[in-house]
Every structure is written in C-alpha cells, then in structure tokens.
C-alpha cells in the first residue's frame, strides 16, 4: 500500500581524523516511507556489510530526539529539512522516489571528524565545565520552596534549558559559532535566583572557553535557531552578550 522509495545517497566517508575524506555514492532500493532517517542508514549499513564493505559510522543513541547524539547534515541542513526535529526523528515520508540525498558530518574546527559522520563534541563538555552549573555541593540545599521563583522566570529558564547539546547550531552557523549553545546555558541561570551569585564569573569563563575551542563569532544570521531541534531562540545569544557587557563593568 505504501510506495517504496529508491534513493541515491551521497555520503561523506572518512577513515579517521587524519584522513582527507571523500563522498561516496550508494543506491538504496525499497525504502519504506515509515522508516526514520537513521533506520534508512541502518538498512544501508546492513547492505554494505553484506557486500563486504565498511559500514557508515554515525552517532546516535536515544533515537527519540532528546539525547542530542545524532548529528547529520542532510542536504545542506543540520538535522534535515523538517524543523524542530533531530535527525533521528526525521522520517522518510518527506522524500520522493528517486531523490538524491547528500549526507555530511557537522563541520567545524571545534567538532573534528572522528570517522565518517561521527564528530567529537567534547568542546561542549569543556565549555560546561567552565561554569555551566550552579556551584552547590550535595547536601546543603535549602527546602525546594524556600525561594519562590516566578512562573514566567521558571518557564524562561526551561526554554533555555531544553537545549540537547547536539551542536546543530554550530553546524548550521555560517561562522561555526557556538553562541546559541553557550547563550542558552548562561541564560538558564540568569533567570533563576540560584544562578545569580556567580553569573558574572560564569559568563566570563564560558565565553573564554568557547573562544579557546576555536568556534567562530556570531554574526546574527539566526540559522542556529532555525535548525535547533528545540527551537531555542537567539534571544539567548543577546542575553549572553548582556551578561558579557556586565562582566566588563563589574
């Protein structure tokens, strides 16, 4: 009953970090439109293995759009054509029979390719280590209701905190800037009283780490927001800059 698809895939293949890499073409027949994009790649890999080849490595884990591990650039758009959707939740019904699909890894100096479509996003962990938290030890927390927090503020903090850390913002940015990721983390804590005591230090250190990782400078194109699986707004970037300006005068 469902029309099956025959697809041409141009996939980036790279043996390891030092390999130059190249595109390779594959033909995949009889793809069900109900498959997810990653399931389509699973089928491709089974075909490659049966043919005695090396399957395409790509990062993935939860396959429900929350872990942030999948990281494909599909036809020039990180996570593909459907907005607010991670690669793992994109389904093949968005494609037509005979389509050619180009699949590349996230590309940025801060995200070196490990193999094929898998990249190293350790830079994000190092940025978080530089202050993306509230410095509170276990055990000395006051009662959860001791400090009321306006619902609007809690909701805004949640909007920022929904970031899944996938790095699509960097991948989509013409400048490979990590401003949306860093801005979202800094913003989350500016909305909450718990984050206030170290807000200056946090902004200063996280931005310095972001720069040290070699990410580009945000030119306000706003592509990041358009590809973000959680639709995180560039208002967060403005907030980060506001925090930064405060660091100079504090």
């Amino acid at each position: 009953m469902d029309k099956r698809l025959n697809l041409n895939l141009n996939v980036w293949r790279q043996k390891n970090a030092s390999d130059k890499g190249r595109f390779e073409s594959y033909q995949l027949k009889d793809v069900s439109p109900h498959m997810s994009f990653l399931e389509m790649l699973d089928v491709l890999n089974e075909q490659i293995i049966k043919d005695g080849g090396d399957p395409v490595e790509f990062d993935n884990d939860c396959r429900e759009g929350i872990c942030g591990m999948c990281s494909l650039v599909i036809d020039g758009i990180p996570h593909g054509p459907q907005q607010r959707t991670a690669s793992c939740q994109l389904h093949m019904r968005h494609y037509k029979d005979g389509d050619t699909i180009t699949i590349e890894p996230f590309r940025a100096k801060g995200f070196p390719v490990i193999k094929d479509l898998a990249v190293d996003r350790g830079a994000f962990d190092r940025i978080v280590a530089a202050g993306g938290y509230v410095s509170v030890n276990t055990g000395n927390a006051p009662d959860g209701n001791a400090i009321p927090i306006a619902k609007e503020m809690a909701d805004k903090a949640m909007d920022s905190s929904e970031c899944i850390g996938c790095g699509a913002c960097v991948a989509a940015c013409p400048n490979a800037s990590a401003a949306l990721f860093v801005g979202a983390k800094i913003s989350q804590y500016t909305y909450l009283p718990q984050g206030a005591p170290e807000r200056t230090r946090r902004a200063e250190r996280m931005i310095a780490q972001m720069d040290a990782e070699g990410f580009g400078n945000c030119s306000n194109h706003g592509e990041c927001e358009a590809v973000c699986p959680k639709g995180i707004s560039i208002v967060n970037i403005a907030r980060m800059r506001r925090e930064f300006v405060k660091t100079i005068f504090s």
């Binding site: 650039v73 013409p174 400078n217 306000n220 592509e223 560039i234 403005a238 800059r241």
Partner: protein, 226 residues
C-alpha cells in the same frame, strides 16, 4: 568577583561584536545626518548647499573632533569586521559541499552573508569618496559676500561622469544591503533582543536601509540626468 581587564575582554569574540555594534550604530547615525545634509543639494540649490558645507567647515576644532571620532569608529568597525571574518573562516576549515538555509526564523539573507564584502567595498569607496570631495579640486565662490568653497560645482562635475556616478549608485545600494542586516544585528550584538521589541527593530532596520540607500541616490541621479 574578579573582573577582567578591558584588554583581556577585547580578545574575546563577544567583545568584538559589541565594539562592532557600537561603532556601527555611530556610523549609521553619521550616514543618516550626511544623507539629510545632501538633500540640501536638491532642495536648496547651490548657495544653500555651499553654505551648509561652509558652516560645517567653519566649526574648526569641533569638526576635527567629530572627524576624529568618525575616523576612529570607521577604523574600529573595519578592523573588527576583518578580524571577525578571519576568525570565522578559521572556524570551519573544511567547508560543506552543500549548506542551505533552514528558513524562518533564520535571519540569514544575502545581506547577512555578504557583510564582509559589502563592508570592504564600502571601505574602498569611503577612501575614494573622501579623496574626491574633501581633498578634491578647490573651487571658490561667493555667497552673500562671503568667500567659500564651491562644493556644489565639484559635485556636479563629478556626477556628470558615468563611471563615478554608476559606481556610486552601486555602492549606495550595497550600503543599503549592509544596513539591512547591520542595523538590527547591532542591537542583537548589544544584547537588546527582546521578544517585545526585536520585531520593531528589525523592521526599522529595513526601513533605514531603504531610506538611506535611496536618499543617497537622489543627488547623483538628479545631477546626471539634468
């Protein structure tokens, strides 16, 4: 809390953007005033235009100060722009075979992706422009018994040349493009994005771009076609 020194802050990407925004907004202000002044060329005729420019020149030290600030803003803006652009090209050493826009809410436009190119052309233009007019041939005229520079004559001479005129037209359109992204972007860089106002700022930016570009086009077109 230890605050950082301004020089340390400057090395950070975010600081470059803040400076870019401050200098850019100052330049926008200048450009608007410049454009309004130019309109006196059309509306007031030769004497009015020459008197206007004479008044400016007569300001003396005040003018030098404003010029110095202007030059500073210009240099900061250009220097930062080039520096940011170099940073950015280093941030993605291997390019994509294909990179497309994901569509709204993205604000990526031809304008936003060509800022460095329109900026560099504007840089060259400004140098030529200053050389042509400020340091160009000195014609003299008398208005109400006062001897002053006849800038009106120079403007007419220059804009009768097709190459200069059309080069100018082209550059002013590029200025429009530059401002179309630059204006709202400056506010975003200064951290003033707010759901309530950002839409208005974005629209004002487009309006300023259009008004400035066409405002500057008026004089050369009028001269060339009369």
């Amino acid at each position: 809390m230890a605050s950082q020194s301004i020089s340390a802050a400057y090395r950070m990407t975010v600081a470059k953007k803040v400076l870019m925004a401050l200098s850019g907004l100052f330049l926008v202000l200048f450009v608007i005033i410049h454009m309004v002044g130019n309109l006196s060329f059309l509306l007031g005729g030769p004497d009015a235009f020459n008197k206007y420019s004479h008044t400016l020149i007569s300001l003396g030290p005040l003018l030098y100060f404003v010029e110095a600030v202007l030059v500073l803003a210009f240099v900061v803006h250009a220097w930062n722009g080039i520096s940011i652009s170099l940073d950015n090209s280093r941030a993605r050493p291997v390019k994509y075979r294909m990179l497309k826009s994901a569509g709204k809410p993205s604000k990526k436009t031809i304008s936003s992706t060509t800022m460095i190119y329109t900026g560099l052309i504007l840089l060259v233009f400004v140098i030529i422009h200053v050389k042509t007019f400020k340091y160009g041939p000195y014609y003299s005229t008398m208005v109400n018994g006062v001897e002053m520079r006849d800038l009106y004559r120079l403007v007419v001479e220059v804009f009768k040349q097709p190459l200069y005129t059309f080069g100018y037209l082209f550059t002013m359109l590029l200025l429009g493009y530059h401002l179309r992204h630059g204006f709202w972007s400056a506010f975003q860089s200064l951290g003033t994005n707010h759901p309530k106002y950002s839409g208005a700022i974005y629209t004002i930016g487009i309006a300023i771009a259009v008004i400035v570009a066409f405002g500057f086009l008026a004089v050369p077109l009028a001269v060339y076609f009369t």
